[in-house]
């Protein structure tokens, strides 16, 4: 057997393996968000997650992949495996955005947005960062290092979310006379389950982004990437738990998990480049950023029921810059330029697209519908009809 054939087989298998781990993030996001919202909005959030996967993936199959990569060709592994791996990413940006506008967003316009995001916006970002690169040679050309998408996925989703929150506004009754009304999560086991499915998915996300496991060097790189990814998550969880305990003598699990996810987002830009201790530092800073960003966004009345801005936007930016700070061979300015260019592009295009869709069919459910719950109004199906709702 030719060495090239061997590599082809192994890398196809490895990419399929990574892809499967990423697909676990679909139920991962679904469970996390279903656990974080109120019982009256659970079915709606779940439906959104399912529809995003269906709509965005098909859009990526039909138009997005071509746009991002220019062709359906691949010599180093099966193109079908390569496609599936990339397709597994596409829903994530929209998930990040949809999670942050839960409990008020209507499903139909969101599905329209998913088509555009999965078919055009996200593929364009991929094109200029990882793919065919249509702006190569122009002054916008990016040299940012972003292995698995701190910026390309997480910040992009985060900027789209910021645009969405500005357009849709806060949930009914969330801010009353300048005061924040706390709306607690309804199902903590689902939150934990979802967070761990995401965590495990991240191993495929980052490990698979190395692109090949079929040489000794690449095998090391993949393993180190996965190890560093995990380490940053551990550190993020630990520091968030520590800060909460210092302040309140209480372990707020939702914050701890957000800290972990923040660490995972932040390490995603360069897990292959760090030594084994740097991710501890990156994760601790990420976890701290989450703890401080969550109340900050609330003070700004940017209503984000799942903490997606703090986890994905803030730490997408932090993680991309961190590569420039901690890795000698990477220019900080290149990283910064990447962050800024993607920010401007993702935010402005999302804003315009959301704005236009919002004119045609409004995103935000009426106050009365929010009061009764999105489930009854959007899906007709209650999440827990037999469980009695407490006061």
């Amino acid at each position: 057997m030719l060495e090239a054939d061997f590599k082809y087989v192994i890398d196809t298998f490895f990419t399929l393996f990574s892809m499967v781990l990423i697909i676990f993030m679909v139920p991962g996001f679904a469970m996390l968000e279903a656990g974080l919202v109120r019982t009256k909005n659970v079915t709606s959030v779940l439906t959104i997650n399912v529809m995003i996967y269906a709509v965005a993936s098909l859009a990526f199959l039909l138009i997005g992949f071509d746009l991002a990569f220019g062709s359906w060709e691949n010599d180093s592994m099966s193109i079908w495996a390569a496609f599936m791996f990339q397709m597994a990413f596409v829903g994530k940006t929209i998930n990040i955005m949809s999670g942050g506008v839960s409990e008020r967003v209507r499903i139909f316009p969101l599905a329209i947005f998913a088509v555009i995001m999965g078919g055009i916006i996200y593929p364009t970002v991929v094109n200029v960062s990882w793919g065919a690169d249509m702006i190569a040679g122009t002054f916008l050309d990016l040299n940012m290092y972003d292995l698995a998408g701190s910026t390309v996925i997480h910040s992009t989703g985060g900027w789209a979310l910021l645009a969405a929150i500005l357009i849709m506004g806060a949930r009914r009754g969330r801010y009353k006379n300048g005061k924040v009304r706390v709306i607690p999560a309804s199902n903590i086991p689902l939150v934990v389950l979802g967070a761990f499915l995401l965590w495990i998915g991240w191993f495929g996300f980052n490990g698979g982004s190395v692109g090949s496991i079929s040489s000794v060097q690449n095998a090391d790189l993949v393993a180190k990437t996965i190890m560093n990814t995990n380490t940053a998550g551990l550190a993020g969880a630990l520091i968030a738990g520590f800060i909460m305990y210092m302040r309140y003598k209480l372990f707020d699990i939702t914050m701890i998990l957000n800290g972990a996810l923040g660490g995972l987002v932040a390490v995603t830009a360069g897990p292959d480049l760090y030594d084994m201790y740097t991710p501890i530092l990156i994760g601790m800073i990420a976890g701290s950023l989450v703890v401080f960003a969550v109340p900050l966004f609330d003070k700004l009345q940017l209503d984000d029921p799942v903490g997606a801005l703090s986890v994905h936007l803030v730490n997408g930016v932090w993680g991309t810059l961190a590569v420039g700070i901690f890795v000698d061979s990477i220019s900080f300015m290149d990283q910064l330029k990447g962050v800024v260019v993607v920010a401007v592009f993702a935010f402005s295009v999302s804003f315009v697209v959301l704005f236009v869709i919002n004119k045609i069919t409004r995103f935000r459910a009426e106050d009365d519908a929010q009061l009764e719950g999105m489930d009854v109004n959007e899906c007709g199906v209650e999440a827990y009809p037999e469980f009695k709702r407490a006061i």
Partner: protein, 112 residues
């Protein structure tokens, strides 16, 4: 002493409680109930079949008050709980013969 029961819309609980606190009512017992009345339920969908959910969630507040406070309390509830839409609920007043506070053994008006 009188028992005042109010069946109200769930999202009005906070407002009614605050309004009652302002007039000095600071003891009450609350429970979730289902109401059936002129306000009709909504229809739900399940695997292609529609069906009607008859019973609507309501909150029942119960407070025992001194007989002389009844009118003020009911007026306060009516004001705080009214939305003007069908299904706002009802208030029922009945008689209570005896009250005991378990902790102290105090009875009647002292026990309210």
């Amino acid at each position: 002493m009188k028992r005042i029961e109010a069946i109200i819309k769930p999202f009005k609980l906070e407002d009614v409680k605050d309004a009652l606190a302002e007039i000095g009512i600071d003891g009450m017992t609350v429970s979730e109930v289902k109401g059936y009345g002129r306000q009709k339920g909504h229809s739900e969908l399940y695997r292609g079949a529609e069906y009607v959910v008859d019973f609507l969630p309501k909150i029942k507040m119960e407070m025992i008050v001194d007989g002389k406070d009844v009118d003020q309390v009911t007026a306060t509830i009516v004001e705080a709980a009214r939305t003007g839409k069908i299904g706002d609920g009802k208030i029922f007043v009945s008689d209570i013969e005896q009250i005991i506070r378990i902790r102290t053994g105090e009875t009647d008006v002292e026990a309210i």
